[in-house]
Symmetry: C2
């Protein structure tokens, strides 16, 4: 398939590598930073703008930092919308606002094209290993067309719903649970440690029971060993909780613990821990306790 | 071994069954409700008071509802303390206050006896199947002596620390993580459902990734199927969060999400959901959102 791919960052670059390896023809657009030489050598073609990419491709994948970036690439000057042929497919794999997604999908739909929101979890490791979880919102028919692409990049592929934005909502749900579970482990281990217990023994005792999770295993270990190199940066997770709180406001739901966790992330920001791993939220709990607990 | 066992409730009764099956001689004390006939038929002996139980046994196990019950059985009229022989072992498997535990251990220690706090997780199912996780605080030598008893009742046995109260603190850590993870799943699924997503598809998409946990699996499913029969009652989990918040206050730690979750449990209490499964905390989130989301 002739595929456009806009956004060759730490996630996008390895994803393009997998699509090239699967035999697809890949196009990207020129950018401030040049595309990785390795991808060019494997056949990645570079066009002058997203518009030109859209003109040459049947499907265009986006993997961009934020809602505004997706809007600009789709609808800005020389954007995708100016070049999309009727029947083309736009697949936004960025993690962005679900309600903006519904709007973008509707505007792309007016051009006779289908739109899928297909955010991922699994991070850089999952992108490199082609083991991403992909959560997809949009028409079932478009999901079927995109499936070979998803299969080249991920493993756990879910069509969440026909409604555009469902994939983004699912991703936000994921990020809520991950953030709040990390914070929960932080509260538990801080109390244990400050009470004179060895947090490593507590973590071990709790693995296997109902408190068990990959978070307790991985992020609990990071808290204990004080290994706060990312991983997943608080700056990014905070952006995701912003999306969660905005979505909650728009559908009339109250997310008290998500709001609280966001405030703890704000404390990390104030303490210059914005680019540390999200497990460093435990440091905000330690600040509340007046000192380092571990 | 000659073992006393005080507290033959839903947890204690099957635990006594396992100790009898392992060949021990079991004594209990007379109570308002008579001991299960099945245990009597298997050899359980009934004494007139905890004091008499202590006089006849090398080790006494307690499995009682709350801190005050443990204090009364140990130090009240005709309590254990009046009958314990020097060198005996008191093993408190109730889930109670860690700092009261340290006090009880010290007073038992003055009688020339050893004390272990050994709360469990795994609930009625784990008690019946002898698969309880047991988290033990107290001297290593006493832990070694008690090990055959623990092995008859549980599987995941951890000596958390030599300091009495370590087991209780570990159990509290467990209960914090369980409560807060359930609440996190509740926030995520309420947002997803209210945003028009099928929460069952969201749960399934999230299993396997970093949001995955036994809580998402079991309690997420209960929320989706609206199955709020316990399980573990909110009344009991709220008692555990009380212990967590009291412990936090006493060691100078701040547990903001634990405090918030306790407030949501209060809303369950107000709505007569006090004896429903702890997954019913999602109903408090739904009240905040003004209606049932699922």
């Amino acid at each position: 398939m002739k595929i456009g791919f806009i956004g060759l960052g730490v996630m996008g670059a390895p994803m393009v590598g997998h699509l090239l390896a699967a035999g697809h023809e890949l196009h990207t657009s020129i950018n401030r930073s040049p595309p990785p030489a390795e991808l060019i050598s494997k056949g990645l073609l570079v066009e002058g703008s997203p518009c030109e990419v859209a003109e040459r491709c049947e499907a265009v994948v986006l993997m961009l930092p934020a809602t505004g970036d997706v809007e600009r690439v789709c609808f800005g000057t020389d954007g995708l919308a100016a070049g999309l042929k009727s029947g083309s497919l736009v697949i936004d794999m960025s993690s962005i606002d679900p309600s903006a997604t519904a709007d973008f999908a509707s505007r792309i739909g007016e051009l006779g094209c289908a739109y899928l929101d297909a955010p991922v979890s699994g991070g850089e490791v999952g992108a490199k290993a082609a083991t991403l979880s992909i959560m997809v919102g949009g028409p079932a028919e478009a999901f079927e067309r995109a499936l070979p692409l998803f299969e080249a990049m991920g493993e756990n592929l879910t069509h969440v719903g026909d409604q555009n934005g469902s994939g983004q909502t699912c991703k936000i749900s994921n990020q809520i649970i991950v953030a709040l579970t990390i914070e929960a482990v932080g509260e538990a281990l801080t109390l244990a440690s400050r009470s004179g217990c060895d947090p490593a023994k507590v973590r071990k005792a709790l693995l296997g029971g109902f408190a068990s999770s990959r978070i307790l295993e991985v992020h609990g270990e990071r808290m204990i060993s004080r290994s706060f190199a990312p991983g997943f940066r608080i700056a990014l997770h905070s952006k995701d909780l912003d999306l969660a709180l905005k979505a909650a406001a728009s559908v009339g739901v109250s997310l008290p613990s998500t709001a609280l966790c966001q405030q703890l992330f704000n404390s990390n920001r104030a303490a210059n821990e914005w680019n540390e791993d999200h497990s460093a939220v435990v440091k905000s709990l330690e600040r509340l306790a007046g000192a380092t607990a571990f």
